[in-house]
């Protein structure tokens, strides 16, 4: 890679360090780049209620405060963009889902199948369908914790895990693990009860 080019990672880090000769120019260049990149990628998502300049300002502070953690395994602008995207998407989600409630009380952790659901789009074997759904109901009741049921319900309402985490007073990593472990338990439950992948596929196809 040509080290004279501005996007060379090491070059960026050097130029952005306090005391660098052209630090102000480097900051201005990076800010301009991120504003254009985030305007293109964020403003049509989740309703687009976002102040790109504000997101970029937050990202710039994060980038400038994290230069020592940049591992130089990617282009610098890719790394900086990933930070801005995460900040921007989080803010967009917070706004977009602010009115979506998720009752997190254990009393409301119960999930029940609606077997009377007419399911006009289902044309498969009703016996297989009932077998799979009955077992799914039982596995949800017997193998998942209250918090797992609540988190699963949140995902089925369309809530991203980071928004479920807010409502559970938890964090994104923990809720992702909660949901993933729940899916693993359900999958293992189907396997141990002899329900085949083909039978599940028949229900969801």
């Amino acid at each position: 890679m040509d080290e004279s080019k501005p996007n060379h990672a090491e070059n960026w880090v050097q130029r952005l360090r306090p005391g660098a000769d052209d630090r102000d120019i480097a900051i201005s260049e990076l800010r301009s780049y991120l504003v254009r990149a985030m305007s293109r990628s964020l403003t049509h998502r989740y309703g687009g209620q976002i102040d790109v300049e504000d997101i970029v300002q937050q990202a710039m502070m994060k980038v400038l405060g994290s230069l020592d953690t940049f591992r130089q395994q990617s282009r610098f602008t890719t790394w900086a963009s990933s930070i801005a995207v995460r900040i921007g998407i989080s803010q967009l989600r917070r706004h977009y889902y602010r009115d979506v409630s998720l009752d997190v009380t254990p009393e409301n952790s119960e999930l029940r199948m609606d077997f009377a659901d007419s399911s006009p789009d289902y044309f498969g074997d009703a016996e297989v369908r009932n077998k799979v759904l009955t077992l799914l109901q039982r596995l949800i009741e017997e193998t998942l914790s209250d918090r797992q049921r609540i988190a699963i319900r949140g995902t089925l309402q369309g809530l991203p895990v980071e928004e479920i985490a807010v409502r559970l007073n938890s964090n994104r990593n923990a809720v992702y693990k909660l949901v993933h472990d729940a899916r693993v338990r359900l999958r293992e439950g189907f396997e141990s009860n002899g329900v085949t992948a083909e039978e599940i596929a028949a229900v969801i196809s």
Binding site: P6, E29, S74, S82, V85, L156, R172, I204
Partner: protein
């Protein structure tokens, strides 16, 4: 009590049927996302660590969505930096 519609049950069954072991947390994934993006953009062979990122994307719609957004951001011409 929450009643699941058949459509929601199908959605849950779909995700359950696609569930595979995932070594990464969302933060782990984020740490590697820029490297993964550049590797994919330039057609580089993925290391084991970056293959784990791809698996995480298949399990975590949140991270996959952020990655899609990042790819769109990176379409920005770099001419502005010259």
């Amino acid at each position: 009590m929450t009643i699941l519609t058949f459509a929601q049950a199908k959605q849950l069954l779909t995700t359950v049927s696609k569930t595979v072991p995932d070594q990464l947390s969302c933060d782990d994934c984020f740490e590697l996302m820029a490297e993964f993006a550049d590797a994919e953009i330039h057609g580089n062979e993925l290391t084991a660590a970056l293959k784990a990122v791809r698996i995480h994307f298949s399990q975590c719609p949140c991270c996959a969505y952020e990655y899609t957004t990042l790819l769109e951001a990176l379409q920005e011409p770099e001419a502005i930096l010259k």
